[in-house]
Symmetry: C2
Subunit: 303 residues, 2 copies
């Protein structure tokens, strides 16, 4: 293992996930090509694919086939991409750039962006539920259930709602959210999907409950660390480094731990979470080293 | 059987489906209540529940438990409701009224309407994938797959895209869509979900392939008849009768069979489709009489 081991593994997995997404979203003939073009614009050509990497590495702990793992990784990346497309809409964050490219509603139009997001969510479930993903229907049903819970009103959509309400409250001068409320907001908005990404390999591998739970807890702490690191980057990095607009959280009055605790205490908190994430992997062997390294990388990255 | 048999059965099923939706979307404590309130606004308090009725009556052919049938009916109604919320958005059809009530983005705001639609789609899959829906995971996985395909880019979202493109084409004076292209647009936009609604009871009941296919074909013809009937209503009924704005299709240059064929030929076509739908039920006994009556009712209704 060298300092390049994790970055190289991340790059390799991102390439494989990109190929899987490309194959799962073929361009059709005819006028509906526009919808697929918008879905592909949203999904392809970049991103760290951290969620997909978690699936692939989680699945590797249990000898799951690469085909199964990559399909689930692609489905989760589709779900994540849809959430970004809708978050970027004028009625939401009104963003023009994403990963250095025009957002979907800028590259196409608003109606197409709404539809492309909707279609990506449906497509994610279509991939999980299809026989190609796993021969055991109980595994497919469980994957669909977990994704639906992570994405729904008690997951991602609920967190997004809390985020919007916190911004509205800040605008009228209400006191900012406390640490517990911010933690809950982040757990719903991004944490639940990261948690599921880490757990999905164990579901595919029909792992014992204890190991499945360990990966789930790892994902939860990792997701929380990742979010703080993201907020720190927003406050400190340049747009050039991250490929998206930065300094936006403070400008928008977003409720973040960085805003509440300050940079130094937020860094300490992120480090503690990353250490906790690693600790949940104690029962795993060296095959989990990339997941351990990911916990450190998550808080050290500059983009 | 009297003339009231079907309307009474529809009302009874609608009441049960409403209760199921109410139970599946409980209002939580805390700030995310706003999201659930918007989801409930979109789902509860009306609609004919034709899709849900198809599930309930399809399931009754195979002795499926009412609990299972109502959960699937509720999931499909959630999916349908989400599609209406997003269709009504300013960037799409920009509608202020739906079933005589303000649309979700008017009653709440645009961002909340986008999120409520997104959350309803996720919730629909969460309901289908949950153990309470059916003890056999193969049934749950199949339901998730079929709903995802009916809702995705080769189903509802694809049809919506074709509809938008047809409107854009009409605006620049391009020749209108022909009969085949309109038929395909409608099959994707509304037909696939109605088809799945009719087929879902057979999936729940693990029916023989032939009977499942008969219900699927019934649903396809019924859906096509329903769409023409809807377009005829838009062209001829008052907003008071239908509870929504009418005469909008012609004003928006929407591609409909009524616009292409004229009212009389469109009526003949709807009657032929309804008769074909009934014919697919020939192998079913008197327990399918309500489904037969629904085919006639679909083209005779005034709202």
């Amino acid at each position: 293992m060298t300092a390049d081991t994790l970055p190289e593994a991340l790059r390799a997995a991102a390439g494989e996930i990109e190929d899987a997404l490309d194959a799962l979203l073929p361009m059709p003939e005819g006028p509906e090509a526009r919808l697929f073009a918008a879905m592909r614009h949203a999904c392809l050509g970049g991103g760290k694919r951290m969620r997909g990497f978690l699936v692939v590495e989680g699945a590797a702990q249990f000898g799951v086939s690469k085909t199964s793992a990559l399909r689930v990784a692609a489905a989760i990346e589709m779900l994540h991409a849809y959430s970004l497309v809708h978050d970027d809409l004028p009625a939401m964050d009104n963003d023009d750039l994403r990963r250095g490219k025009p957002t979907v509603h800028r590259a196409f139009d608003e109606a197409t962006a709404i539809l492309a997001g909707d279609a990506l969510q449906a497509q994610a479930f279509a991939v999980l539920a299809a026989e190609d993903t796993h021969s055991d229907p109980a595994v497919r049903a469980e994957l669909c259930l977990r994704l639906a819970l992570a994405a729904g009103p008690r997951g991602m959509c609920g967190g997004q709602m809390l985020d919007m309400l916190a911004e509205e409250q800040a605008e009228v001068g209400a006191p900012p959210l406390g640490e517990a409320a911010i933690g809950r907001l982040q757990l719903l908005k991004t944490g639940k999907l990261i948690e599921f990404s880490a757990e999905a390999g164990a579901i595919l591998g029909k792992a014992p409950a204890q190991q499945r739970q360990a990966l789930c807890f790892y994902g939860r702490e990792l997701g929380a660390a990742f979010q703080i690191a993201d907020d720190i980057l927003d406050a400190t990095a340049s747009a050039e480094e991250t490929g998206k607009a930065t300094g936006k959280d403070a400008a928008a009055g977003k409720a973040t731990l960085v805003g509440l605790l300050g940079l130094d205490r937020a860094r300490v908190q992120a480090e503690r979470l990353a250490a906790q994430a690693r600790a949940h992997l104690d029962s795993f062997g060296p095959r989990a080293d990339l997941l351990r390294m990911l916990a450190d990388y998550t808080i050290a990255r500059r983009s």
